[in-house]
């Protein structure tokens, strides 16, 4: 038993009358010969590692080693505590936790790649916001991670999940799709609704380029993670309302692949284009890297 497309995945869920999360678990059992308990425990350990990364990020207001990020999780927490936020407690918490994880990542702290480190803020952001704002159990959060992994598994094998291969759409896009599907299943939605949520998330991030300033996973990566949580919740709410993606999810993934394949090299994690090549981006690179910007010099002629 294995699946290579969202269509396969939905068909299997229907045949076996299972959630996507449960199906992913069973697939892992069949592939590895491990027991479901063992697999569940492994995933639970990752949930706890995510929690540690979040806690580290929230309590550490210091700047990252480069000095161009850090402290925003703390600011978001203070803002949330004042109670005057507009997007609601759930999204504000998700943003706070996404900041926390991505800032820990920028400090070379320990995180869990979901699916990548550059996009590691989105899924824990959404998961721990649900934990704080609903009565969901820890075991259901773990099942949410299985749901998310099923979506990421299909995208990673059909297209790409790295910024160097497919741009930021492949990282933040995939992570947001994974998170939104996980939210749908954790809230009791159907596998079909979860796949629509994933499609809507991925669609809204198509074309996003990977242009990290000075080659650091900080600007604009961290804030794109934060915004990703809001998109994940918006897509999940649409899907739970019964709204569907007009373009099937497999075709959205195909479009993501085509767009990523035709993106120029300067916009795929080389720090030679986009925000990395703005005057401020160039300036930061010169200051931080203490090496001549041979390529950017070539770029601007």
């Amino acid at each position: 038993m294995d699946f290579h497309s969202m269509n396969d995945l939905l068909q299997l869920c229907e045949e076996k009358e299972m959630t996507m999360g449960r199906l992913m678990m069973e697939t892992e059992e069949k592939k590895t010969g491990k027991s479901s308990d063992e697999i569940f425990t492994m995933m639970k350990e990752r949930l706890f590692k995510m929690k540690e990364a979040v806690e580290k990020g929230i309590t550490d207001p210091s700047p990252s080693p480069s000095g161009i990020s850090g402290g925003d999780a703390h600011l978001m927490k203070e803002y949330k505590d004042k109670g005057n936020y507009m997007t609601g407690g759930l999204v504000t918490d998700a943003m706070k936790y996404a900041f926390a994880t991505s800032e820990t990542n920028a400090r070379m702290g320990v995180i869990v790649a979901t699916p990548t480190a550059g996009s590691a803020g989105i899924l824990p952001g959404c998961i721990f916001a649900l934990e704080d704002n609903t009565d969901i159990s820890t075991d259901d959060l773990v099942m949410g991670l299985f749901t998310a992994s099923a979506i990421g598994y299909v995208i990673a094998n059909r297209a790409f999940i790295s910024g160097a291969a497919g741009g930021c759409q492949a990282e933040v896009g995939s992570a947001t799709a994974m998170a939104s599907a996980a939210i749908v299943e954790m809230r009791g939605g159907t596998p079909e609704q979860a796949v629509h949520a994933a499609a809507m998330s991925l669609k809204s991030l198509l074309g996003l380029v990977c242009d990290p300033v000075a080659g650091l996973v900080e600007v604009p990566c961290i804030k794109r993670n934060v915004i990703g949580t809001a998109i994940a919740f918006a897509s999940a709410d649409m899907a739970l309302a019964g709204i569907k993606s007009r373009i099937p999810c497999d075709e959205v993934i195909g479009a993501m692949y085509d767009i990523g394949s035709s993106m120029p090299r300067t916009l795929k994690e080389t720090s030679l284009g986009g925000l990395a090549a703005t005057p401020t981006g160039e300036d930061l690179k010169r200051k931080l890297m203490a090496k001549p910007c041979r390529n950017s010099a070539k770029n601007t002629g």
Binding site: I111, A113, T116, A156, P212, V217, T270
Partner: protein, 164 residues
């Protein structure tokens, strides 16, 4: 299929900041360490394309050295890889190139390493999300996915060059 498990997607547990430019490269370095069977005395590393442009910000240099020292992806000591390598008296040199002539992917590197008795050269590609593959060993094409079970013993027998 390259991604074979839910833990290829939710994972690895790793030190930041990049799964492809840090964790995936630790794994390639670690494979080199395990193939050699010890910490190399001297290494020459060539970064291509995205690696050669962004290695400082992504800690790719620390990652490959950390792996060659035998550290795992979640070992916080990766941050201090260069200090640790100095203690081991590892001789390190880097080269930077645009396109890899052996494998068509932006995240590629070559490591040529020597211990007292052996020498070996490997080419690795980091495919995303921390999953890596070895595509070249001693100039011969290879296809070794590092998220699968590996028999290092038989690989050592096959690939290690005796320098004595």
């Amino acid at each position: 299929m390259v991604f074979n498990s839910c833990f290829d997607i939710i994972g690895p547990v790793m030190v930041g900041p990049s799964s492809s430019h840090t964790a995936g490269v630790v794994a390639i370095g670690k494979f080199g360490h395990d193939l050699l069977g010890e910490i190399p005395k001297s290494v020459n590393i060539t970064f291509y394309d995205s690696f050669s442009e962004t290695y400082q910000g992504h800690g790719t240099d620390k990652a490959v050295i950390g792996g060659l020292l035998g550290l795992g992806t979640d070992n916080p000591e990766i941050k201090h890889a260069f200090e640790l390598a100095e203690k081991e008296r590892m001789n390190i040199s880097f080269e930077f190139e645009e396109r890899c002539p052996y494998y068509d992917h932006p995240n590629t590197l070559l490591i040529s390493m020597k211990s007292r008795e052996n020498s070996v050269e490997i080419g690795g590609v980091s495919l995303g999300g921390g999953v890596s593959k070895i595509f070249l060993i001693n100039g011969q094409p290879a296809n070794i996915l590092l998220n699968s079970k590996l028999d290092m013993e038989s690989m050592r027998e096959r690939y290690l060059h005796d320098r004595r």
